[in-house]
Amino acid sequence: MEIPYIVETRADTGLNNVKLGIWLFLASEVMLFGALFSTYIILRVGAPEWPRGELSVIFGAANTIILISSSVTMVMAWASLKMHAWGKHRFYLLVTVGLALFFLVNKFFEYAEHVGKHEIPSYNTFFAIYYTLTGLHGLHIVGGIVVMLYFLGPGAKLAKKNPDQFTNRIEATGLYWHFVDLVWIFLFPVLYLL
């Protein structure tokens, strides 16, 4: 089966399939998180009072720094691949996975602290939306980790067979990962600061 434009770009669109596909997927993700942000606004506007300063800014800021750094290492993993520096690519991808795991560990301690204080989702609407938004975002992080581990492990075989296709896949992974980072950039002020 020969499906065209898996690697090379189609002349009239200037795109390969995976690039268009991942962007369409991200478009739907924008609408998913859009609906949740919309929910946040509606609950906040409708609430008699909205708690502020419930969350630890330190935790939030640390996780922001971690995710931004992981975005940089992700783009470096892709760029190294473009420059045919295989070792560097592996290194940066591994660091990205490490940072992502670090993020989740932080998140776990943060959740544990709140649950310890009985601040569970049913405590109030603020914690409800906090757990939902960060939980869904956390699932996206987990998804990203799975994909990156795949490309560090069995998925890496493709790099020998078809290096260009592998690079495209890493680029798509990167686009997804940056999007996850981008969502957090909005989640941080919305939940932790305001």
């Binding site: 020969e2 499906i3 609906a35 509606i42 609950l43 609407t125 409800a128």
Partner: protein, 587 residues
Amino acid sequence: MDNVTTHGSVAHGHAHEHAHHEELGFWRKYVFSIDHKVIGIQYAFTGLLFLLFGFTLMMIMRWQMAYPGRPIPLIGAWLGQDRAPMGIMLPEFYNQLGAMHGTIMVFLGVVPLAVGGFGNFVMPLQIGAPDMAFPKLNMVSYWVYFLGGVTMLASFFPHGGAAQSGWTSYPPLAVIAPGQTMWLVGMIFLITSSLLGSVNFITTIVQLRAKGLSWMRLPFFVWAQLVTAFLLLLAFPPLEAAGVLQLMDRVAGTSFFMPSGLVISGKPMLISGNGNPLLWQHLFWFLAHPEVYVLILPAFGIISEIIANNTRKPLWGYKTLVYSVVFLGFMSFIVWAHHMFMTGMGTTMSAFFQTTTMIISIPSVIVLTSLLLSLWGASIRFNPPMLFALAFLPMFAIGGLTGLPLGLAPSDIHLHDTYYVIGHFHYVVAPGTIFALFGGVYYWFPKATGKKMNEMLGYVHFWGSFICINLVFMPMFIQGLGGMNRRMYDGGAQYAHNAGLLKWNLVIGFAAWGLGLLQIPFIINFFGSLKWGKAVDKNPWEATTLEWSAPSPPGHGNFLTDPVVYRGPYEYSVPGAARDFSPQFEA
């Protein structure tokens, strides 16, 4: 099935010989296949089964409405004590049937058949592609859909039964009623499947069009699928979010949709409150109105193909059709709150949404008019697919026109939540979309199987269904205008003002059971034709679009040579041409 295929990719600019000798095992070939045609057939078959199942639920409900409180014949004894003790349906079970009928028909029947089935099977063939852009993703879409379907079916069995808050699942009722959790999980599967599918569809249409197949040469069916895919892509995520929120409300005890001070059966709810029930309705209809167009646009596409083919004329106003359908898709995102005129929404918003609703009726009318004008002066071939297509036009027209009074806030106040609404949207979806889908089955069956369906059984199926389905839905307008509410367990008998309307419940009941019986010729035809149907060549309908240049059934990789497109999609009866059709694929 496994032809030796020769094809090349357009990208290389040369066709290279490529023979498929690898024999896939049974599982890889028919079950976990990544071939778009197999997946399309899987979708279509599963979709048809769910349509039958969803319709069966309604036939059971119709008994209760026609003969409230009488034991259900035949199957009543099998339903169990917590559903129908002594064969008499419980109100809770009635509600389950209603909610699941809607859910199954929309999300498990029509959409999978129209988009997953026809879209998957026909669209890549019509654009001259060897497969979908992401074949494995395509397989995943089907199996996630399948999981969603299994979850929905399984939800009938646990204690408390299936969801009972209508397919719209309005909170707070949906949050406190039993059965809803599995419904939500099932919906999340179905939405995920649709999202993956729509990414695949758009990428395929944008990237894999054959050489020479420019945008204005695309068959209208492909345009309809493209717009549909965008609707699914951008409208479904908000419902997925809303589903997650409702799931949180049920499982984690949050109050996203639960207002403060809620008292249920005299007991105050122990929840944190401050939620907003209207938020669900906004998020739900933000999807569910575009969803209406997800149901109808593929039908437009199927109908256009059949009409052009059987009138032996070009479609009237092809470009107008394309622009209308794109505009229709765009507008469908800003009309959703016309479902919510009765929620206490203010007059400014009502005015806005009723205006956009009136605007969106314009492209729908343009599409219908174009298709109607396409018939003018044609010598029409009245075969079964064409009969279904022809019936679609007036049926959809009735469905559409009866929608106008519902789209205007003042008249909606009177008609809201009555049988008039049921009549309206069923005219759009049942004798509208489902007739189009039947037409599509008759039309593309030869391509999928290499056999033609029996025409005589087709005529019986068509005329019988046509008469019965109108007897089912036309009386609903009478009942609705008379003020009969929907979702009445006793068919409305408890209200005095319905006294004169109850006789129609009998008419509708018998028509519905008749409609059920009249699907038997179709089922016989479907399976019988697989075995005994007349074998056909590549192009039995003498059609012009690309799918008819591939073998019937097409082998793996679809085309024997690289398809090249030389002209527009509907060049029938071109003056001076030797035959009355000039296919896209012939120079």
